[in-house]
């Protein structure tokens, strides 16, 4: 899923300070799972903002809501009846959801309440790691199921580099070397011969380098 972290409170305070009627909109999707923008976090933000503005002598309306998702029109559409009561919306959904609110309510000021980080997994509660860079052309079959685009700091296809040491990346001793992981896995699978054949340069057109992306599934469209 998409992983995000809540923006610093200071930053959100600064964003909304000139507005009087604030709606905080959380999302029950990915940001709930990584505890960044779900119902709980939205309420905590609401409380924190009320405390701040009250002690500062400012009277603001600060309301909280969540939507099932903010990346589907059916759910974002549910704000239709109440959104005009507010002059700003802080969306705690990921960047995609926040932008969809903008798409559907074009005259509303919408601010992001979280920093969207990556596509990743839950190692343990509170510990999330990146696994996929959405390059659009998956090569996991060739690398023992471990992605070098997401998990090698240099996104090498013919790794590891000369800075790989004791299974760690040269960037940080806490960072596992993606190619060490691939090597270990290919060894387990008996596929080490893959290491002798050069892999050709990647076609990056399917990733963001190819331009703004979309998927058109004609089989799903009427």
């Amino acid at each position: 899923m998409i992983r995000a972290v809540g923006k610093p409170l200071e930053e959100i305070i600064h964003m909304v300070q000139d507005f009087d009627k604030i709606l905080l909109a959380g999302c029950d999707g990915c940001v709930t799972v990584c505890e960044a923008g779900g119902l709980k976090e939205t309420k905590v933000l609401g409380s924190a903002l009320r405390l701040h503005f009250t002690q500062a002598g400012q009277n603001k309306v600060i309301d909280e809501t969540t939507l099932t998702r903010q990346c589907d029109k059916e759910y974002v559409g549910l704000l239709r009846d109440t959104i005009d009561n507010y002059d700003v919306v802080v969306s705690l959904a990921c960047g995609a959801g926040a932008q969809f609110v903008v798409d559907m309510y074009k005259d509303k000021v919408v601010f992001p309440g979280v920093d969207t980080c990556f596509i990743g997994v839950t190692e343990e509660r509170g510990w999330y790691t990146e696994r996929c860079q959405a390059c659009g052309r998956c090569i996991l079959a060739d690398t023992g199921g471990i992605c070098p685009i997401a998990r090698c700091s240099k996104r090498m296809l013919n790794g590891p580099c000369g800075g790989s040491e004791a299974g760690k990346c040269e960037v940080s001793p806490e960072m596992p070397c993606g190619w060490q992981l691939i090597y270990d896995r290919l060894k387990t699978l008996g596929q080490l011969d893959r290491f002798e054949n050069p892999v050709d340069p990647k076609d990056w057109t399917s990733s963001r380098d190819g331009g703004i992306r979309k998927i058109m599934r004609e089989d799903l469209r009427i």
């Binding site: 409380s47 405390l51 002690q55």
Partner: protein
């Protein structure tokens, strides 16, 4: 034990401090509490194993938030003691009460034009 502790300490009982949520703590301050303390079992002795450890990290988080919003994180504290330490509880209550008196009324009460009577929630 019939020990004395200040009358403006309001006690809210929970089966375990692990039940105390970040929102409960923040709401207490929103409602005008001048101070809050969370009294949980001694570390390692939690009846529900880790409840007091969850409480500890939540208290830490709320202290940070209180600092960031101009209330002040020292209005919230976590204490650990056993159920049998009645004397210690009274001592904590007095200590916290004095500390909050020294800090003065919560900025929320001041902003809302609140009365003289203060409160510490435990």
């Amino acid at each position: 034990m019939r020990l004395q502790y200040p009358p403006d300490v309001r006690i809210i009982q929970v089966p375990c401090t692990g039940k105390v949520d970040i929102l409960h703590l923040l709401t207490a301050f929103e409602e005008g509490a001048d101070g809050v303390f969370v009294a949980g079992c001694l570390e390692g002795d939690c009846h529900f194993i880790e409840g007091n450890l969850h409480a500890k990290r939540r208290v830490t988080r709320v202290k940070e938030i209180l600092d960031q919003v101009g209330i002040g994180g020292d209005r919230l504290e976590m204490y650990n003691l056993s159920a049998g330490q009645g004397g210690r509880f009274a001592e904590i209550a007095r200590e916290m009460d004095q500390k909050i008196r020294d800090l003065g009324p919560s900025p929320i009460r001041v902003a809302k034009g609140g009365g003289v009577q203060g409160e510490v929630a435990a």
